[in-house]
């Protein structure tokens, strides 16, 4: 019990210490002007933000936090329009069909990049859209139950999984070509582990599967399971980064575990049509980038463990991130034998 509390306290304290300080965000967009007048009285009405996922998930929450921050900054209202379905395809399609007048923006995640990598017929977020800001970038970890006694750390986990002859299981979102499946492929290839991946598309059943002992491990991002970490229910045994963030200094990273591959990141950002009027796009860039540093948005990111690595990219940085991610996925897909269109 004491061990659990200590672990929980150390994780929380480290995260708080790190996120409270001016490490990354002192703040990234402080150099931007505090206010900027829109061109020709723009925007004259509320903006619409299309969100390709439901309101309760990670995208829904970041969309809400960003919309509120932009409104605080500019006094311009933003109506969120959730269009879930098809792993973000429905929302993307609806957005591409919306008028390119600068009054509608899109929230999307790295799934849009991996979808384009697999099928170039799908929109490329770096070319077919203009990224306004990437406001969340995070990494993944592998978790086990804190009370688990069959294995207690990464090395003993690998050893135990190998002994099960393919009967061990891990909960994730293992859709074809997903970041989770690709990363697990890297890990299993490098370690020689054979592990059954159980795909849960919603968070609650996924976390419940680990908490209830239905699966042996969980692949997830730390912000999404923070309450389980704080409560001492789950513990990370591998950080899928080459260097450990200080909040998870005691958790082995890829280098420590002898795994040599480029980690894939989860990122969420905001976009506008590439054909939207250029002056309006400039105003939107300013509003969304500046809103990133609004206290309410920073507080939200901190609560989600989104300040452990640099979560901010401006337009050029986002394009670079997306383009490199697409290239990385495409290489992996080819190596996996998937048909890349």
């Amino acid at each position: 019990m004491l061990k659990k509390l200590l672990l929980s306290a150390s994780v929380t304290a480290a995260a708080t210490l790190l996120s409270a300080g001016p490490v990354f965000a002192a703040c990234a967009t402080d150099s931007l002007p505090g206010s900027l007048e829109g061109p020709g009285g723009y925007p004259e009405r509320a903006l619409t933000m299309i969100v390709p996922y439901g309101p309760a998930g990670g995208s829904g929450q970041v969309a809400q936090a960003m919309a509120e921050a932009v409104t605080e900054l500019t006094k311009v209202s933003i109506n969120r329009d959730h269009k879930p379905g098809g792993s973000g395809t429905v929302g993307m399609t609806a957005y591409m069909a919306a008028p390119a007048d600068g009054y509608s923006v899109l929230e999307h995640i790295d799934d849009a990049s991996s979808a384009h990598a697999l099928d170039s017929g799908r929109p490329n977020p770096a070319d077919d859209l203009i990224p306004l800001v990437t406001s969340q970038i995070t990494f993944s970890q592998i978790y086990i139950r804190t009370e688990e006694d069959r294995f207690t750390d990464w090395d003993s986990f690998v050893e135990w999984v190998k002994a099960q002859g393919g009967k061990a299981s891990i909960a994730n979102v293992s859709k074809e070509g997903s970041m989770e499946r690709v990363t697990m492929r890297f890990i299993t290839d490098a370690t020689g582990m054979e592990i059954q991946q159980i795909s849960f598309d919603k968070g609650a059943p996924r976390y419940g599967a680990l908490a209830g002992g239905q699966v042996d491990a969980l692949f997830e991002q730390p912000g999404d399971v923070r309450n389980f970490l704080d409560a001492g229910k789950f513990k990370p045994i591998l950080t899928i980064l080459k260097e450990s963030p200080s909040a998870f200094a005691d958790v082995p990273n890829l280098t420590d575990a002898g795994l040599d591959f480029e980690p894939l990141l989860r990122f969420r950002g905001f976009y506008v049509h590439k054909d939207a009027p250029a002056e309006r796009v400039e105003w939107l860039k300013w509003a969304f980038q500046k809103a990133y540093c609004e206290p309410s948005y920073q507080a939200y990111n901190e609560s989600k463990f989104m300040t452990l690595i640099d979560s901010y990219r401006d337009t050029a940085g986002s394009q670079e991130l997306i383009t490199s991610t697409i290239g990385q996925y495409r290489d992996v897909y080819k190596a996996m034998g998937l048909e890349v269109k």
Partner: protein, 508 residues
């Protein structure tokens, strides 16, 4: 005793604060109203209110959402019963028998039963929630994984063919149509594209709310319009006679059964009130001596569905508060309310914020009790909408259904899907097929397919794995036995409804 003291403490805190009382009653009325309007559900209200909860205390914010949850699940029953428009998917089984009762001039009885049973189901599950949140939550997630949930769905589907169809075989064909619609779009586990014909909207699957609105509301308007044209139309008799205590008492076993079923479904993360309502209804059918009367205006159908869906509300709070696992979309939004106040639901809430927990528990209990009073008041007035002549009521129903279908995702194609389902439902009903069966297949099929695929992954693609999971095995055996019994009945027994004209049944 400690539970009672805590409950009284929560009650005093709730009702000694004028702002708290205002928020409580606002949530009760708002949940009922938004629950009653199809498409514009309690989730819509919750999404609108979510940003404003940042300005409320954590107790008030969570309490508001929990109250909306309780009354919102009930609210959709009224339009389901009166107009065949379920306010939300969890009210669809209520329409199976509630609307035929309206047509028989028993709207008051159906609505009264819905009010009473929603209140009973919700209140009892609240009491269980107060007594044993933590142990129940731990047990549920340990005992019920995807294999058990799939087996539960199979068990439910095995009896669904007998709901509302003219013959056993048409009942099964109806279920299979529903299952077929359910597999359109990305497969829920591997993300494989199926039957999308390169259309992104089909890739996302056919949303069940437009289908429910089409099969129920739109097809019903067509059926009644045909009767109007042919001179066979009879306006539903207006009745505000609520069920007597004796009538309700006669269904006590159905109420207890649905409470148990609703509670079980509610505590499973990601399952919630919709499966609860369908399973509650299905079990009522399974254990009834008049199985073939379901779908034609049987009070027990309304009682079972409404008890079960409200019973799921208290239960859904258990994994949320004890483990931080939301059971559905509304409880997931509650996580957002917690986070806005720098809190996380989970075991630490009981230690760090016991006052909040007990205010929420008390509010949920009284919200369920208030359904009785406000529900009766509301229905005494709303039932009078049945006085409106059909030629005026029909366009209103179509308008409301259109708004509901569009509001789901803001996609015009959902409206088109609703009208296609309406036309299809009209012809299927004329031929003796069951639209209720199609909806059962669609809803249970989506959950069943996902959990089956997950179960097979967990069992390493070996069916023999079920032998090591006694709960799943028991449910599968019971499901197969039900199937065999119904096949035997179809071949060797006379079917009491086979000779009845399809027009006599509203949702067949």
């Amino acid at each position: 005793m400690e539970v009672l003291n805590n409950f009284l403490g929560g009650t005093v805190t709730l009702f000694s604060d004028p702002v708290g009382i205002l928020i409580f009653f606002g949530g009760v009325v708002g949940g009922m109203l938004f629950g009653a309007i199809p498409g514009v559900s309690m989730l819509t209200l919750a999404a609108i209110l979510l940003p404003f909860t940042a300005h409320l205390s954590p107790e008030h914010g969570i309490m508001l959402f929990s109250v909306i949850y309780c009354t919102g699940v009930y609210g959709g029953a009224i339009t389901a019963i009166l107009f065949n428009i379920p306010g939300a998917p969890e009210n669809a089984p209520t329409a199976f028998d509630g609307y035929p009762m309206t047509q028989k001039g028993q709207a008051g009885k159906a609505v009264g039963a819905a009010v009473m049973c929603s209140a009973i189901g919700g209140s009892v599950s609240c009491v269980i929630m107060m007594i044993a949140t933590a142990p129940i939550a731990d047990w549920a997630i340990s005992a019920f994984g995807p294999p058990e949930i799939f087996a539960l769905v199979f068990f439910g589907l095995a009896v669904a063919a007998s709901v509302g169809a003219k013959t056993f075989w048409k009942g099964w064909l109806s279920i299979l149509i529903g299952l077929m619609i359910a597999v359109v779009g990305l497969d829920p586990v591997g993300g494989i594209e199926r039957y999308d014909f390169d259309m992104p909207y089909l890739l996302a699957g056919i949303h069940f709310i437009p289908m429910i609105l089409g099969f129920f509301a739109v097809s019903e308007v067509f059926v009644q319009a045909e009767k109007k044209v042919t001179g066979a139309y009879k306006a539903p008799k207006l009745s505000v006679d609520f069920p007597s205590f004796r009538e309700l008492w006669a269904h006590k076993i159905a109420v207890v059964r649905s409470i148990i079923i609703g509670f079980f479904c509610g505590i499973l993360p990601g399952i919630g009130a919709t499966l609860a309502a369908f399973m509650g209804y299905n079990e009522a059918v399974r254990w009834s001596k008049d199985r073939m009367e379901f779908g034609k205006g049987k009070l027990e159908g309304v009682i079972s569905s409404e008890t079960a869906n409200n019973s799921a509300t208290g239960a859904a709070m258990i994994p949320l508060l004890a483990l931080g696992l939301p059971g559905g979309a509304l409880t997931a939004m509650m996580v957002g309310v917690f986070q806005m106040h720098d809190m996380e639901p989970g075991p630490l809430v009981f230690i760090n914020s016991p006052d909040l927990v007990w205010v929420v528990f008390a509010a949920m209990f009284f919200a369920n009790v208030s359904i009785i009073f406000i529900g009766f008041l509301e229905t005494k007035t709303i039932i009078n909408l049945l006085r409106i002549p059909f030629q005026f009521l029909a366009p209103m129903i179509l308008l409301l259904a259109t708004v509901g279908a569009y509001a789901v995702r803001g996609l015009p194609i959902d409206v088109l899907v609703m009208f296609i389902a309406g036309v299809g439902g009209f012809f299927l009903r004329r031929s003796g097929y069951s639209v209720a069966g199609i909806v059962l297949g669609l809803i249970l099929g989506k959950i069943g397919e996902q959990t089956f695929a997950q179960a097979m992954q967990m069992l390493h693609f070996e069916f023999s794995g079920y032998l090591e999971r006694p709960i799943a095995l028991g449910l599968l055996i019971a499901g197969f036995m039900t199937l065999l019994a119904s096949v035997y009945g179809a071949f060797f027994k006379t079917q009491p409804v086979a000779n009845k004209p399809a027009e006599e049944t509203a949702n067949t």
